[in-house]
């Protein structure tokens, strides 16, 4: 048995070491170096990069990122829960609906974001239509603001909320819902007292799966926020590209990672192993 274990675990261990742990170690090393002309890196060793992370300028972006990610997560939950409940109770059509949820993944997020831009921009389909039928006389500002970023995040990550929710709701014994009604619970009471508590593992998994990528998102805020609504992911990306300050970018991403890890640990401690 032990040999079999080794054989089965080795590929994953190799991948994780070479593609995850090694780059992480490199990032850790970068974060302690000084910005330089070549490769954006140079000596001497320093911890000053970490000090800059707590500059109010970045703190504000970090807070904004948490806020935007939190709003997007809550919206995903509010939209995803009824959807997952509906799918879990639609009998033979379940798989068809699930495929619809996964369908967007067939196209790159980048392409889909551009599709949204074509819809939402001042000369886009929606504004053009609204003006043509005379509902508005000037284009509505639907792009390049926080609302657009949240829309993009919710759109991009909704499936990550729906799938774990569906997995728990699908296993929910339908007799429990009948029992709740039988004991006098109206539909809303049954939802809040029976369905939601029993879906808690799925809710926690969905929240983690949506919140973490939202927090680090850079594509959506870059394209749909248009530089006006930036998130911490854009700042990190900037350090590696335009600003050419790799040590600071590394420090920033490590601090972000530490924050997310702390959050995860708290959640895992509360819900046991089901998240892992």
């Amino acid at each position: 048995m032990n040999r079999l274990r080794t054989i089965f675990l080795t590929p994953a261990a190799l991948v994780m070491t070479s593609l995850f742990l090694a780059p992480l170690a490199i990032i850790c090393a970068y974060s302690l170096l000084t910005r330089g002309a070549y490769f954006g890196l140079g000596l001497p060793w320093t911890i000053a990069n970490y000090g800059r992370v707590f500059d109010p300028l970045y703190g504000e972006v970090l807070l904004r990122s948490f806020a935007l990610a939190a709003v997007a997560t809550v919206l995903c939950l509010l939209l995803g829960f009824p959807l997952a409940l509906f799918i879990s109770r639609s009998g033979q059509r379940k798989n068809f609906y699930l495929n619809l949820v996964i369908l967007p993944f067939w196209t790159s997020l980048l392409v889909r974001i551009y599709a949204w831009i074509f819809l939402l921009r001042d000369t886009g389909l929606i504004n053009a239509t609204l003006q043509k039928i005379g509902l508005t006389h000037a284009p509505l500002p639907m792009l390049y603001n926080d609302g657009a970023v949240i829309l993009g995040l919710v759109y991009g990550y909704l499936p990550f909320m729906v799938l774990p929710l569906y997995a728990t709701l699908e296993r929910l014994d339908p007799f429990l819902i009948e029992a709740a009604a039988d004991l006098g619970a109206r539909p809303w009471t049954a939802l809040l007292r029976v369905i939601v508590p029993l879906a808690a593992p799925g809710i926690r998994a969905g929240v983690v799966l949506v919140f973490i990528p939202c927090l680090g998102a850079f594509l959506v805020p870059d394209l749909m926020g248009g530089g006006k609504s930036i998130m911490i992911g854009n700042v990190v990306q900037n350090q590696f590209t335009t600003a050419r300050d790799w040590p600071f970018g590394s420090a920033l991403s490590l601090v972000l990672m530490a924050a997310v890890m702390t959050l995860l640990l708290v959640l895992v401690r509360r819900s046991g192993e089901e998240l892992l």
């Binding site: 014994d173 007799f175 429990l176 009948e178 029992a179 709740a180 009604a181 039988d182 004991l183 006098g184 619970a185 109206r186 009471t189 007292r193 029976v194 508590p197 029993l198 808690a200």
Partner: protein, 326 residues
């Protein structure tokens, strides 16, 4: 309102599904305080009938009356009936106490402690109120399900095969407990089962269902001793059909020599013996080719396959089937 002897009435109730008719014109009347069983094989419509009383299904024809009022259109949470589900459907995220309080809270009751304590005593679960359902045995879960419904003092308690999830030894014990619980609370029970022994041992009245229709309604003795159809006769116990006459195995006797005094007799040969502990089933092939089972208790006589034998019975033990051209 009319609150006569019948607490629950079904008047010509049918349930038509797109593919089949699950319940077909069932009329029955349940006396207040009775232990009333719906007995039938799986797929006979008994569970659908119960679900129409609970409110989970709506009849496509006919009326359901509770205390004389039509309740067809009331939602499950608007009816003062309660269900003990086959799998108990206890809320796994709540404790025993939380499960029992659930219905009381929905009614906005102020004092939860007294009724919870009383019902826990009634079902002998005192001291287990803070357990979660997963920490209970099958029998305890069943009692929590009972307590959760009984604490609401429903007009009718609906039980959907509540004993089928228990192991056979426990099942017999629970039968008598359930019966005495029904007696002591005075609550009307509508009990669904496919097990004729369960129905016979507990019920005041049994309605036998078959193919969505009622076959016969009566006391356990009526149903067993005076079945009106061949289906009822055979569903309630093994039957020997000897030249169109029905005789139960326990009324079928064996003799080595021709019993002179009895006119009801047939000759045959023993085909096999099945030992069942406290009794033996002896199968005899009669001369006309029919097989007759005799249930005998262990005695000095020993029957071997191939032995010539005479099967006889008392005329009084013959079952006549008036409803059919038996």
């Amino acid at each position: 309102m009319d609150s006569g002897a019948y607490i629950l009435e079904l008047r010509d109730v049918s349930k038509q599904y797109p593919s089949h008719k699950a319940v077909d014109g069932v009329s029955l009347a349940v006396e207040r305080g009775a232990f009333y069983s719906l007995l039938g094989p799986s797929g006979c419509g008994k569970t659908t009938t119960l679900r129409m009383v609970a409110g989970f299904e709506t009849p496509t024809a006919g009326d359901v009356l509770l205390n004389g009022s039509r309740i067809n259109d009331l939602r499950p949470y608007e009816r003062n009936v309660s269900t003990v589900f086959q799998n108990y459907a206890l809320f796994p995220h709540l404790t025993v106490r939380g499960n029992i309080e659930f219905g009381l809270r929905r009614r906005g009751e102020r004092d939860l402690d007294t009724p919870v304590r009383e019902v826990l005593e009634l079902v002998q679960l005192s001291g287990k109120e803070s357990r979660s359902p997963a920490q209970l045995s099958g029998g305890e879960r069943q009692r929590v399900a009972l307590a959760r419904s009984l604490v609401l003092r429903p007009e009718v308690l609906l039980l959907d095969e509540p004993l089928s999830a228990l192991d056979p030894n426990l099942r017999k014990q629970v039968r008598s407990e359930l019966k005495s619980l029904q007696r002591s609370t005075g609550i009307t029970f509508l009990f669904i089962t496919h097990d004729q022994e369960e129905a016979l041992s507990m019920s005041d009245r049994i309605a036998v269902m078959h193919g969505g229709r009622l076959e016969q309604v009566g006391t356990p003795e009526d149903i067993y001793q005076r079945p009106r159809t061949r289906f009822v006769a055979e569903f309630l116990g093994a039957m020997n059909w000897i030249d169109g006459i029905g005789v139960r195995p326990e009324s079928t006797h064996l003799a080595r020599t021709m019993p002179e005094s009895e006119s009801r007799r047939r000759a045959g040969r023993v085909e096999n013996c099945v030992f069942l502990g406290n009794r033996i089933h002896v199968a005899t092939r009669l001369q006309n080719g029919a097989l007759a089972i005799a249930e005998i208790h262990q005695g000095p006589e020993c029957w071997n396959a191939g032995d010539p034998v005479h099967v006889w019975w008392h005329a009084a033990d013959e079952l006549a089937l008036p409803a059919e051209n038996a």
